[in-house]
Symmetry: C2
Subunit: 308 residues, 2 copies
Amino acid sequence: MAADVLISECGPRDGLQIIDQVMATADKLAWIEAMHAAGITEIEVCSFVPAHLMPQMADAAEVVAASARLAGLTVLALVPNLRGAEAAIAAGAHKLTIPVSGSEQHSLANVRRTRAAMVDEVARIVAMRNERAPHVPIEANISVAFGCTIAGPVPEDEVIRLSLALVEAGVDISGLSDTTGMANPAQTRRLFTRLIGEIGERCGAAHMHNTRGLGLANTLAAFEAGVRTFDSSLCGLGGCPHAPGASGNVATEDLAFMFEAMGVRTGIDLERLIAARAIVARALPGVPLYGMLAPAGLPLGFVPASAR
Amino acid sequence: MAADVLISECGPRDGLQIIDQVMATADKLAWIEAMHAAGITEIEVCSFVPAHLMPQMADAAEVVAASARLAGLTVLALVPNLRGAEAAIAAGAHKLTIPVSGSEQHSLANVRRTRAAMVDEVARIVAMRNERAPHVPIEANISVAFGCTIAGPVPEDEVIRLSLALVEAGVDISGLSDTTGMANPAQTRRLFTRLIGEIGERCGAAHMHNTRGLGLANTLAAFEAGVRTFDSSLCGLGGCPHAPGASGNVATEDLAFMFEAMGVRTGIDLERLIAARAIVARALPGVPLYGMLAPAGLPLGFVPASAR
């Protein structure tokens, strides 16, 4: 199906990494297959991090290899460093995404590196990619770009400067992540408008969380600013287990519904996407699932943009 | 506090009318007082309908009289017909709101009147008001303006024609309600832009539900179209008890947070508003409460527009 926007599903990575339960590889693959069958064309299937730090991702290479067999699917892997990038490329990932913190404090806390040291690491990843897998695009998304739980507000000038440094270091695209759900629509529009003004088509995904309920409003603002790639997770997985009710990523089904209702084609079959929630519910008993479309159902007489 | 938008709290009416439990009058008043203390300047406190049809609203006159003692508060009452309007004015309501269905089927099912007959009833209410209480403004909000659970899609031309007929019948303001949570941002922007083009400052509230998660995105679109009054309910009360997870009105606390974060002043103290949720939780045990801001809390370093 033709699409006006790219919805990049990040549930198998962003959704699972904060849940204590380890989802079985077979369940992950059933979930990925169901989303692919619903029309999702890019899935962030895993993170290449040491298994002792994140046992949920111990099967990363296996998940990448199996996902790569699904026709037309871009298999995206998160890599925090050169070692992870080497493993992801060896496993056959089609695209890499590297998180780079927007605040110095978050960078030190998260990867024990300054932002500048992380830009250097990104340059090393790019050099390795150029040598071993020049066809694999690299995205660097700036975490906590809209606010940080350690530093508080993050200066917009610093975010833009960091993005320019990442492009200078050779990444193909650079997006912005509201990792902590602190963004608002005015800020989202302002920051993405500046970013697109600076790096144009290299502007990557708007990765908005729904922690305070503004996820879709922020997504709308990003779309209006010109963003055409959006990260989200089925069932809104990615919430913080220590803050009950504080959900994580924008729910893919609600996001796709918003666009399809607005006349913006996603290429996604909403009914099949909703049906895929059952796999998550079965595989993660007791984990709260978000997303408002599924319980309410599609509106009477609804015609998605993709079917108009 | 100065405000750029009017947030009209509709929880005590829209939130309570669909809940089987009858909230005690004292609890309603404690809730209304807490919201007033948090800076809310307009509250739809009740509906004047026969007590045998809606026992939740049997204390309407008492609630209006007590609320009218709160300094600076506009006490808004919903009235479905002339009899209700007479009772509301006799009780001392400061402002009336009349729901008029956007679809013929919904109008017949809801008030057993055609839309044309309802416009005639509105004219009778206006005539009575002109005689007995000329200082009381009348709002007529079009229900199911963005889609109907009986008729499906509602033609936009019919919505605009109905709004013009209501203004012709003498109402002071006319807004649009997404009663069933079927709106999308493109439609919301289009319809409010047309409405403001036709009736200008008589354009009333955007009353958006969050049934499918688009409540705040739709609110943002209405704001961008020029709307400056928004209905919402604390805790997102107003959900359908027969569709678990399908919440109702946009949550006031999330809506006010979005605006304050964007730099749009609401005049509302968010901390006090969040604290008022405890009254609802205590008074309505077992009723699901919505709203994402409260569990997540305000972002670190957050400065509301009203305090800048």
